[in-house]
Symmetry: C2
Subunit: 95 residues, 2 copies
């Protein structure tokens, strides 16, 4: 689980990857539609996408000739939970 | 601001640094008390602490001969806000 959180937070440590999450929060997108607004070489973009997939924050499925990416919101919720927990402890701290 | 989020999330991508945040959520600690449970060389520990300081998640102040670390909870709240925003958009998505 510790490793999962390291991958989650590491995946969000890059502005391109956060932008991908922001786009996918609005709904599923093809890889090409997702790449389009990003001013970088496709292989570079695909490496960012792969970091998100390996972290379990994005899932990609083939629909015919098109690869469709969706957000895996469970990871977002896991991070929210960890942060909320720290904040709750902090608000009840004694020093 | 984008850079701030990259540093926040990057800082939490390591289990030692998350453990430091978990400890500091309970209240301020001296650097030595903070380092004590971690089975690693002090310079290695201090590098982790420095990543958290540079991200703005931990503040260290000198009190006499002792350096006291405290959690800067604003960064935790910023990350919570970004994640909550993505989740809200996701819950209202149309695809």
């Amino acid at each position: 689980m510790s490793d999962a959180y390291s991958k989650y937070f590491g995946a969000l440590s890059d502005p391109t990857r956060r932008a991908i999450v922001e786009t996918l929060a609005r709904g599923g997108r093809s890889v090409s539609a997702l790449a389009e607004p990003h001013d970088m070489a496709l292989p570079t973009f695909l490496r960012h996408l792969q970091v998100l997939e390996k972290a379990g924050l994005v899932r990609t499925v083939k629909k015919g000739r098109v690869r469709i990416c969706t957000l895996e919101v469970a990871g977002i919720m896991d991070m929210q939970g960890w942060l909320a927990w720290q904040r709750e402890i902090w608000e009840n701290r004694d020093s």
